[in-house]
Symmetry: C2
Subunit: 428 residues, 2 copies
């Protein structure tokens, strides 16, 4: 296996055992990037020299106990880095050099992670797409807004990357690119140094080609080593939730879901079905209200000083959000709280949910990054969720399923996801 | 009355009526600063020229409908400004010029507010004090960490200022300096551009010499004009909560509380007494666990690269926080959630709480900024709270009381606080 094809978990083990050097791994990733970047366009900046120099320093070092010792990572360009420009996907910030690393970047570097470069994001992690193409077929979107992170990991340019999700910006691109994408519970990863879109929705997440890799990356960004240990563990039960968006999904989304349900059932897992309790049918409607109201405030500086350099779509969203009456946001937040309370009680009878990651394969074209119809409700509820690839759809692109757990139950979510991954036996 | 002594509400009205110019108001504030800053030391930077030029532009302007049209404000130096250095109270960031205004600064500028300068903060809004003195008596602390904002407003250097609270950093300095300090519900003001100490505790707040002024400032930072309209309104009932910290309070704290309770009772308000339900007695113990765990992550970059330029106290806190097992933080957060659920039910029988703002007058000396014993529980619960001055204590320093309302009930909190203010009739 080429070093760039190794999982991060395997690469760390080989580096610790002295059977692979960080330098060789970084070189392999740089070779892959040189070869594939003209087609995939996943990166806004590559720090080849810095990464190699850091790799050599790590190879020369005695202790190798960092969670990510010697592992190159990609950082979504809405996340600040002190040694690489950070433009948040906007021409307003071209060449901007923040003074410090975001907290999650400082933490993953402290664990021996090597920032290989910054990955393409939609404009301010909203909806106007960047240049990235789906590595499976460049005619299709990679999903967004963490487009570059998902595509780079899927294409073996880097084993790990981080991103952010406000609606579906981690789960959707991971599903479209055929990798694991993990969004933990809202609020437990520090957002210091992450450009804000929505105070009450933005959540950091991780990408890897395996569930264990996505867990490892999140463990490093959280400085929570125990999270990386999630061994595959069959859940006692799982609940299929088709959601109110069911009509939007293509047949392949249900085929993937049914396949996983059947595999779990065959493995002795009790597979049930349910739907979220009321008033959760309001979630898809209130999510945009909350998002737009808050984005207009979070980007107030850019709206005031650089309106002409925003995309027309984002400018419209900010105009709309700033004009929204406070009462509309307050009502939406009150409904969101009522949903969380209802879901908390509902979780007494359900441990783990199985639901589509997206309406189907990545859509063709690059005008949008696809639908967040299967992501908004989980983002607004703040629940931890993970997508992993299951099969290929009619266009030969990957189709995943999404697992969702109770708040703060990341360990159970990852263990169950690792079990599903083993049962599915996906090979990219 | 000198212009610098005007409330912001009155000054806006005079400017709108053409009876006061923004230029004259800024000049009066600058004169006051020139006279008093050597004693009070509230500012790390003053932008006299920029403020005057902005005031002249506002005076020349046709429309005067901004909430803060022509009003100078102070901005705590953990909050980023594009035209003034932002050092977060740390030598690490001396001279640092952020690329953009924090969202709350952009919003208050959009309402016609004039940033007069940056105010002194304790190191990264934690505990190591800055140089500010209590304007009532320079031998005493002004409280912290928003020391400069509270002292500058109290001393009529500026009518309004903003700050942040993680434990007691808005309520405590406001109480010690004899002004109104307002911390809204956790999560409803955008923290974009505010240096993070704790993802799950940090909250923006406002300072004014009257309740109406503190409300006006918060309304501008939230772009929520309706919040500024809070007319005095007697609550139907109020509940005195002495809390588990009761033994730490000096007699003057209870005298102030009893005086307000008697005034309200005489005005026909039903005054009761109660204590927070269990498991809330755990709140003072779990708050530092959550704060230290999260601060070590939020300041991971500074810890990794600039440890020697942190105060020994903060360095120790970061060392402790980074070594804390994840389980300890998870347990503390689980208790916090249980407390919020218990308090939500308890609030069915209580509408508004009356409790000390601080253990008493500001303590003498400058080694610490005083105790947050009466603030931590409300910060961790995320409830909106407000302090207003009531009387002078034995050292001639102000003593306030704190009102606390249910989550998102800012409008009722402000209306009741304005009513209490009128009954108390405090004149600084």
């Amino acid at each position: 296996m080429r070093p760039d094809e190794l999982s991060a978990v395997d690469a760390v083990a080989l580096i610790r055992a002295g059977r692979l050097s960080a330098t060789r791994l970084v070189e392999a990733c740089l070779e892959r990037i040189a070869q594939r970047e003209p087609q995939v366009r996943a990166w806004v900046a590559i720090d080849a020299e810095g990464a190699l120099s850091r790799a050599r320093a790590l190879d020369a070092k005695g202790g190798r106990d960092g969670l990510l010792h010697g592992i190159p990572v990609g950082v979504k360009d809405v996340i600040e880095t002190a040694d690489l420009a950070t433009a948040y996907g906007s021409p307003i910030y071209e060449g901007h050099r923040p003074r410090a690393d975001a907290a999650c970047v400082a933490l993953l570097r402290a664990e021996g992670g090597i920032v290989l470069g910054k990955t393409v994001t939609a404009e301010f992690a909203t909806t106007t797409p960047g240049a990235t193409r789906n590595p499976w077929n460049p005619a299709f979107t990679p999903g967004g807004s963490s487009s570059g992170s998902a595509a780079a990991v899927a294409d073996c340019m880097v084993p790990l990357a981080c991103g952010t999700q406000t609606a579906g910006s981690v789960l959707r691109p991971a599903a479209f690119c055929g990798i694991a994408g993990f969004k933990p519970t809202f609020g437990w990863l520090s957002r210091q140094g992450v450009k804000q879109v929505s105070e009450s929705l933005d959540t950091l997440g991780s990408f890897g080609r395996t569930v264990g890799d996505a867990a490892l990356m999140a463990a490093a960004m959280a400085r929570r080593p125990g999270l990386a240990l999630a061994d595959p563990d069959a859940p006692a039960s799982i609940t299929v939730v088709r959601t109110d968006a069911a009509a939007e999904a293509s047949p392949e989304a249900w085929t993937a879901l049914d396949r996983v349900a059947a595999l779990l059932s065959a493995a002795g897992v009790a597979v049930g079905a349910s739907e979220l309790p009321e008033p959760c049918s309001a979630l898809p409607r209130i999510h945009p209200a909350i998002e737009h109201y808050e984005t207009a405030r979070a980007l107030a500086h850019e709206h005031a000083h650089h309106a002409q350099r925003l995309s027309p779509k984002l400018r419209d969203r900010l105009d709309h959000g700033i004009a929204m009456p406070h009462e509309e946001h307050a009502r939406a937040q009150a409904v969101a709280r009522a949903c969380r309370e209802a879901v908390a009680r509902w979780f007494d009878g359900h441990r783990l949910l199985l639901t589509p990651s997206a309406p189907g394969e990545a859509p063709e074209g690059h005008a949008t990054t696809g639908s967040a119809a299967f992501n908004r409700r989980w983002s607004l509820l703040g629940l931890p969720c993970l997508t992993l690839p299951v099969m290929h759809g009619p266009n030969g692109l990957p189709v995943g399923v999404q697992l969702v757990a109770r708040w703060h139950d990341e360990a159970a979510l990852l263990a169950a996801a690792a079990f599903v991954e083993r049962q599915v036996g996906w090979r990219a």
